[in-house]
């Protein structure tokens, strides 16, 4: 496969300007003749559809929820980064760019990241104009806070609900376009297949989740903004319905998939408490502004806490190990997520973990409450504290929170060039669904920035460069053999799944026949394998084990899963099943990618490659590239093409937060 990243000529700071000045545009009269499909209504999808609709294109947008306002971007808590330098603390486009490249452990593309930093300020302007109620100071101007991996305060926030407010802003803009008729909304619809005609993306097959009908949609271009694949681990901070299938079907139709092994594990989540648990709840990174993370210095104390004989408040100050402040004095509790997660795991593995399972550390606000007063802390973090109390039934104003790392975000995704176009012409990917900006680790408050940057300020330009030629092809028809075949393959796949076990098949315990299990049974089992062997620490041995176990489990799944009901009705079990079937295939690719990357970088930690004090050890000589994988059919090994990362502007260094 040939990869052309299409990075414009010129110095880094002028690339985007040069690109915009010389790109092709579609004239207003012709825009009306162009159809675009957008899959997903999160920050990237909603902002792209709203902007493209406002420009005059005909847009069809799809979401699996009952309303576009429910996409999982809504759950982002802490904030959105922008290089506004309103605090006069030394921020700039250049610094945001550098922090993001360094945060990503030098595995992201310079030109894309620079553009992201460049448009970050305009995002905040746009959101304020839409009525996003960002936090303000007493003078009425916008307030900021700090996030991990930065030494400036550049994070804008709306209490602990920043994602919600930004999404409602984009949803408002989208709703306006729907009312104007430029965008047509298809809620409770799921993309099942990409239709490729003569090598170009020309439409999708969508399943109406209420009736089960398969519907055809044709267009001149398709944007996939369907989020990440973190739910492959079953327990994650993602929403229950978040899934990787839309991106995965694109991959199977020829779009390269980049860096699948880069998975972000968020350090501050509420720990796992039982095997019935369905998801993990994130406690915002913003809490690390004022919260201090610690475990007891003495193992005996940790053991006593685990047995319930001691509480955190029984441990005197000098018996506490503030291990992040100890190991990383320069950044302290605000080290990037991958660093904080590994440090927590290290302490727990060494026997200092707290909580009933020993898999938790403390996040303590006692100092902040003493320094700022309870009122100020409540104003800043009130809703997070309330959320914690509802789940754990412990008052975080009186006792420190207990937290542990959990799967949160996937940096890997569909490979895209500078224009956010995949290797299939006419297929674009935006937001978490693409791989482009975060390298091997995403900094906090950068996901919202990237989603909105892609949707508001990148795609509306770059897509026109592709669409300028498309005015000659006329309306795309959905009555072609390619659509017939795509629809037929989806129908067959659903029927195959439903046929594995019939309603009459015996339940597991009493069966002489092969046992039967629910979809969740298999999903939980897959999640356990992935977390145990392809999680925070990986090595050749664990990955080999994972490969074998996933193959076995997948085989069981295709013989033993029982899906009640039919394909012609509202049937959530069937939805879960086809998404899980895709996860099995994706799991193999994640493992293959993790196996091939013989280095540690960002969220990808290979225990064979670490420094003496347990930090990641990159191998820039051999692995300073993006790994783009190509699909060759079910069960066939995928082939990898490397896109070298040429750092022309930035000086490569060891990532150091000490």
């Amino acid at each position: 496969m040939k990869l052309d990243s299409k990075i414009p000529e010129g110095p880094l700071s002028e690339k985007w300007t040069n690109y915009k000045a010389s790109q092709k545009l579609v004239n207003p009269a012709n825009k009306r003749k162009i159809d675009i499909i957008v899959v997903g209504t999160g920050l990237a999808g909603a902002s792209a559809a709203a902007s493209l609709g406002a420009l005059g294109f005909n847009v069809d947008i799809f979401c699996i929820q009952d309303s576009p306002r429910r996409a999982h971007s809504i759950a982002a808590q802490g904030g959105i980064n922008a290089a506004k330098n309103y605090q006069n603390d030394g921020d700039s486009v250049e610094r945001l760019f550098r922090d993001t490249i360094k945060g990503g452990d030098y595995r992201a593309r310079e030109a894309n990241v620079y553009r992201l930093a460049e448009v970050s300020g305009a995002i905040i302007d746009q959101c304020v104009a839409q009525g996003v109620p960002f936090a303000r100071d007493y003078g009425g101007l916008l307030d900021n806070r700090s996030f991990g991996g930065a030494q400036v305060s550049r994070t804008f926030y709306a209490r602990g609900q920043t994602g919600q407010q930004l999404l409602l802003g984009a949803y408002g803009a989208l709703s306006r376009e729907i009312a104007r008729g430029s965008v047509k909304l298809h809620e409770r619809h799921e993309m099942m297949e990409l239709v490729v005609v003569d090598g170009r993306a020309r439409g999708i097959i969508a399943r109406n989740l209420v009736t089960g009908d398969l519907e055809r949609y044709a267009a001149h271009a398709v944007v996939v903004a369907s989020g990440g694949y973190g739910n492959i681990y079953y327990l994650s901070t993602n929403a229950m319905n978040s899934n990787g299938s839309a991106a995965w079907v694109c991959h199977k139709k020829g779009a390269a998939f980049a860096n699948p092994c880069y998975v972000q594990i968020h350090p501050t989540c509420i720990p796992v408490h039982g095997d019935y648990q369905s998801k993990l709840t994130l406690m915002s990174e913003s809490l690390r502004n004022d919260g201090r993370i610690w475990v007891p210095k003495k193992k005996e104390d940790a053991e006593a806490i685990r047995r319930g004989e001691k509480g955190p408040n029984d441990i005197p100050e000098d018996e506490r190990d503030y291990y992040l402040e100890r190991r990383y004095p320069a950044f302290g509790n605000l080290v990037p997520r991958d660093v904080a997660s590994r440090a927590a795991k290290e302490r727990c593995d060494a026997g200092y973990g707290v909580g009933p399972t020993g898999l938790a550390v403390y996040l303590d606000f006692a100092d902040a409450i003493k320094r700022l007063g309870r009122d100020v802390v409540e104003q800043k973090y009130g809703n997070l504290f309330q959320m914690y109390q509802k789940i754990v039934d412990v008052d975080p104003y009186e006792n420190p929170m207990m937290i542990y790392p959990a799967i949160h975000y996937t940096m890997g995704g569909l490979w895209v060039d500078y224009e956010l176009q995949t290797t299939i012409p006419g297929l674009f990917a935006a937001g978490e669904a693409n791989f482009s900006d975060h390298g091997a680790n995403r900094l906090g408050a950068s996901a919202l920035m990237q989603g909105l940057s892609d949707g508001y300020f990148v795609l509306p330009y770059t897509m026109q460069n592709y669409l300028a030629d498309q005015i000659y092809v006329g309306k795309i028809s959905a009555n072609t053999p390619e659509f017939d075949q795509a629809e037929q393959s989806v129908r067959q796949r659903l029927q195959t799944l439903l046929n594995i076990k019939s309603e009459n098949s015996e339940k597991s315990e009493h069966s002489e026949d092969t046992p039967s299990h629910t979809v969740d049974h298999f999903h939980k089992a897959l999640g356990r394998i992935m977390w145990e062997y392809v999680g925070m620490a990986r090595n050749t041995e664990s990955l080999t084990t994972a490969q074998r176990m996933v193959t076995e489990l997948e085989n069981h799944f295709w013989h033993e899963v029982f899906i009640p009901g039919t394909a012609d009705e509202f049937n959530p079990e069937l939805e879960k099943a086809y998404r899980l079937a895709d996860y099995f295939e994706l799991a193999h690719l994640i493992i293959t990618d993790a196996m091939h990357r013989e280095e540690s970088c960002g969220g990808h930690f290979r225990t064979e490659h670490q420094t003496e004090d347990g930090e990641t050890l990159r191998d820039d000589e051999h692995f300073m590239y993006v790994a783009a994988w190509e699909y060759h059919g079910h069960g066939q090994p995928e082939t990898m093409t490397a896109e070298p990362l040429n750092y022309e502007h930035i000086k490569i260094a060891k990532r150091n937060y000490k």
Partner: protein, 252 residues
């Protein structure tokens, strides 16, 4: 813990629904309400008792607004300031009988079991629940200072998650708290003032057209709102409504 569950079952929008009773045992007190239903569904499926109970859910952390069950006569169950996914079984007693119903309101027709169609809310927003900006060409974010207390009030109103509990709680199935929250959020900000009069008129008319009832000031909506949106937002909506009828902003 052990529970007797009476759950509304309805195959589709046209079918006649009824309550079905199921027993469930071995439920941990730390388990969430939806995780309890997950375990029930696991049992119903494994033992081939019935099709799993359908219920909407997504983020399971109280922000997406997807979940919403009417539990023992209260939207989102017997606790304040939470969504159904944030309700934990420790709020119940061992051996309790629990009645579980979908939102009951004419504008929210049942899709299956406990799942309802809330697209009416989207239609109200589409009628004008936004500020008419297009991408680009907007002033710098700090050009217009906004007093902190105004921004805070706007944020209080903007916290609405559009779950529909207010409508379900209201004996008239009125959407006044939902509409009031959006009208307030935008009218409190200088950016939203420009279209405020038009907005309130269009949204209220759309609300009426879609079959939501009138407000008779009993404030069950406020009592049940998972985000504790205040009834003052309804008052503000009424002021805006009167204002657009008689005030200077009147257009036609």
């Amino acid at each position: 813990m052990k529970f007797t569950l009476h759950i509304w079952r309805q195959e589709n929008a046209r079918a006649k629904g009824h309550f079905e009773t199921y027993e469930i045992d071995n439920i941990s007190a730390d388990c969430s309400f939806l995780e309890m239903l997950d375990q029930l569904n696991e049992k119903l499926t494994n033992d081939r008792i019935a099709h799993p109970v359908c219920f909407d859910n997504d983020c399971r952390e109280g922000i997406c607004g997807m979940c919403g069950l009417y539990i023992n006569g209260r939207p989102h169950g017997n606790d304040d300031g939470i969504t159904t996914c944030q309700l934990h079984m420790r709020k119940f007693h061992d051996g309790d009988e629990i009645w579980i119903e979908p939102w009951r309101a004419k504008p929210f027709p049942v899709i299956r079991d406990l799942v309802v169609d809330r697209t009416a809310f989207d239609k109200i927003i589409q009628a004008g629940g936004y500020i008419s900006t297009t991408t680009g060409g907007v002033p710098d974010a700090n050009t217009i200072p906004i007093p902190k207390h105004k921004a805070d009030q706007a944020m209080d109103a903007a916290a609405c998650i559009g779950c529909g509990a207010c409508v379900a709680a209201c004996k008239n199935a009125s959407a006044m708290l939902f509409v009031g929250a959006k009208v307030s959020h935008l009218a409190l900000l200088p950016q939203g003032k420009v279209e405020a009069a038009d907005r309130v008129r269009k949204m209220v008319m759309k609300m009426d057209e879609l079959g939501f009832g009138s407000c008779t000031n009993t404030y069950a909506c406020e009592a049940e709102c998972p985000k504790e949106i205040k009834r003052q937002n309804i008052a503000r909506l009424n002021r805006q409504w009167i204002g657009q009828l008689f005030g200077r902003d009147r257009r036609d």
